[in-house]
Symmetry: C2
Subunit: 358 residues, 2 copies
């Protein structure tokens, strides 16, 4: 129950233990094609260029920026947590002229401020679900008001756990990770690119490994003709993602959102009843990632990290500490993917109450 | 029996199906530490900076160049196959002034020509085992004669299958992939960096994801103090690599090299007895990756790809086609990791004899 990785769905574990296929085996290519179809459904998009990038969520972020930032491009980035800060750093390394729009950690970004930050940015970039703070940022108003800019959204912690509607919201580039609400181990970064963004790809970006034009010749050319080998696809992880998306879609996307919402509410109510304070702003709290302020008074002999250690050692439950400027100040409790079950929430609440003596 | 992925060791499959740990869980960090120790043994090095990069072998190549090429650096690259060509492309994208030293595909590079190609290169880069041709290039003479240059070696297909001796040979940077002779699915790139190369790392390279200075704070700082979170480690694949290296070291490195040598000899003798021609130059043939010239005469109704399709459909055996300029001209037969067993070689030889009517 940390901020990810979550526990994998049983179907995912079974897929990981299945026979390994070659990356050009027709049977594997069928799995890959179906995985990309499933990703389109989960992202809410018809974008042909929708694929699992062969790296973790941060590789998805890098793929987005390295393929879309032309040197000197103005990129407006919303920053109200660690992953917004990371976007700034990654965009700058790829030559962007970054305009930061800040909000305090724990509060949502103001869409109006983002849209007003520059008269004509090339890219507007925002984290949908800030894993460092538990805050949900609004995306739809940005798509409505983006004008000529491309809208680039980090959906690492949101995808599968709360609504993501790439096409309806006017998102041009979105990426995610597998280890949060998709219930798959970390290692792949689902990525989707609108045709509009596809027309603005950097020719020969600095990264060969993440070059979307080369990648697209392997992942999509195969429907009619041949596939062009680029790198050896991480076949076991793709099979795992295929299985995880299958479990998610068998349950139904909105049923999954509902389950995450229920578990999040159960958890947050329980924490409040224990006298603990939720850190993220009311109305913008993520159900799948809850931040709790570490209380001033802890039982004798225990500090913030000691509470987490005890939960892990005595109950086998992992929760996360704070990251970045929240280090030592909050706990982060994940309720994502297969982990988002009432039984897990109740076990954590019971264990935490015992440890804190509340 | 294609050019990779090979079949995983049973211990690897079991590890993939085991419980998933958090990337900051002390139990996982112990697995990661031991994985890095095992990698040092397999690479033949004491380099502290030895880690699994979170991407496939090509991410290892990119990590090597993006962290070591300073704009305008002269990089001498040996090119006698597809992966030498890839090195040229990747080095150029990161600003290198590349000097190519060519040898015909199927022949080894001449170490003297590589050493004489430029009076003072920053980097000498060579593929140890060319997966596209089945040729082994000599590394030791390059380390002996490199002078002030850094020696950067692609060990994707060599590591675990033939001798690799990073420290003894004077290699400064080596990377590999998990899906060849290590018997683990694709998805990680073992990488090792000498202290000498560590002193020449690019400050703030264009890639944030592959920035070795940031990565090293997560993978190595933990021995005494804290680990600095960078990205979520691909924990399932690290557990798989840990198990694969365990299987390899339980057998013994030199026993594994011997097994690969035996299987390669059995295969290559068998192919010759069938009247087929081996493509790679005698004396530089890899045991783990054999290239065979596609015969002019094939049974009626079969072409090069048809032979491979029949092997896959009728016998469940995958072999590879030619890549790059060898497309359609050779078959590539892998005998790597857990796949390198006499029974597999004999099954392939029997099946191929049936299909070719020889």
């Amino acid at each position: 129950m940390g901020p990810g990785p979550s526990n994998p769905y049983p179907e995912v574990t079974a897929a990981l233990a299945g026979p390994l296929l070659g990356h050009l085996d027709p049977a594997f290519l069928a799995v890959l094609d179906e995985t990309m179809d499933r990703l389109r459904t989960v992202f809410g998009t018809r974008n042909p260029l929708t694929l699992p990038v062969s790296g973790t969520g941060s590789a998805g972020m890098e793929a987005a920026f390295v393929n879309l930032v032309h040197p000197g491009d103005v990129v407006v980035v919303g920053v109200n947590g660690l992953f917004g800060q990371r976007m700034v750093e990654v965009a700058r390394r790829h030559g962007a002229d970054v305009v930061e729009v800040l909000a305090p950690w724990g509060k949502p970004l103001d869409p109006g401020s983002l849209l007003a930050a520059h008269p004509d940015p090339a890219i507007l970039a925002v984290v949908h679900a800030e894993t460092s703070t538990g805050v949900r940022n609004e995306i739809a108003p940005l798509g409505a008001g983006k004008g000529g800019a491309l809208l680039l959204v980090d959906c690492v912690t949101s995808l599968g756990g709360i609504e993501v509607a790439v096409d309806d919201w006017g998102v041009d580039v979105a990426y995610s990770g597998t280890q949060k609400c998709l219930g798959v181990p970390p290692g792949l970064a689902p990525l989707t690119v609108s045709p509009r963004a596809g027309g603005r790809l950097v020719e020969r970006p600095s990264s060969w490994y993440l070059d979307l034009q080369l990648l697209s010749q392997y992942v999509t050319a195969g429907r009619g003709g041949g596939r062009v080998y680029h790198h050896t696809a991480p076949v076991a992880m793709v099979a795992a993602l295929h299985a995880g998306l299958g479990a998610l879609l068998d349950e139904g996307l909105s049923a999954s959102w509902e389950r995450h919402a229920e578990c999040g509410a159960l958890l947050q109510d329980g924490l409040r009843k224990m006298g603990l304070e939720l850190f993220a702003a009311d109305g913008h709290r993520l159900p799948q990632l809850t931040t709790v302020t570490v209380p001033d008074e802890l039982p004798a002999g225990l500090d913030e990290a000691g509470v987490r250690r005890l939960l892990l050692e005595r109950y086998g439950i992992e929760i996360g500490g704070g990251a970045g400027e929240l280090a030592g100040r909050v706990w982060r409790i994940g309720c994502m993917g297969h982990t988002a079950r009432r039984r897990n929430v109740l076990a954590l609440l019971g264990a935490l109450a015992e440890v804190l003596g509340r």
